[in-house]
Symmetry: C2
């Protein structure tokens, strides 16, 4: 089995109001940061997955993301996989 480091970037789908992002944007604008806009806040997940090959690893992470990590009704996710080298 090969170990892969998976990075999953999860963001609200376009068109869904990002209340948390808007709140942070308003807070920044009321401080000295009035040159920051379009703040969107998502999640970033790192994990290690053991699989026979990269395709199997991607399938496992994709299943885990859609079943538990992300909410595919309101969120989009993007998976990046890198093989972990054994020293």
């Amino acid at each position: 089995m090969i170990n892969y480091l998976a990075n999953i970037k999860i963001m609200l789908k376009k068109g869904i109001l990002d209340v948390q992002g808007k709140t942070v944007e308003n807070a920044l604008n009321s401080m000295e940061f009035d040159n920051i806009h379009n703040v969107r806040i998502g999640k970033y997940v790192e994990l290690i997955v053991s699989a026979k090959n990269k395709e199997e690893a991607r399938h496992i992470v994709d299943q885990a993301s859609s079943k538990l990590i992300a909410n595919p009704i309101i969120e989009d996710y993007e998976i990046t996989l890198n093989e972990l080298k054994v020293e």
Copy 2:
């Protein structure tokens, strides 16, 4: 002024117990995902910043991250900047 798209990846510092990640890992392991481990959960922020140049943009985003977006006592953050092309 030039617009830059900033991506900020925020993770708990190494050594700080990631309770949320551990909970997700336990949940995955109790489902069919027993080949996933070392789950760590962070935040991912996207924003647009207007600045004279990339150095100024990085400075503004760095200040905003350490003052409001991240908690530098327990979190590390990583900023990526890309100039937004005007069509």
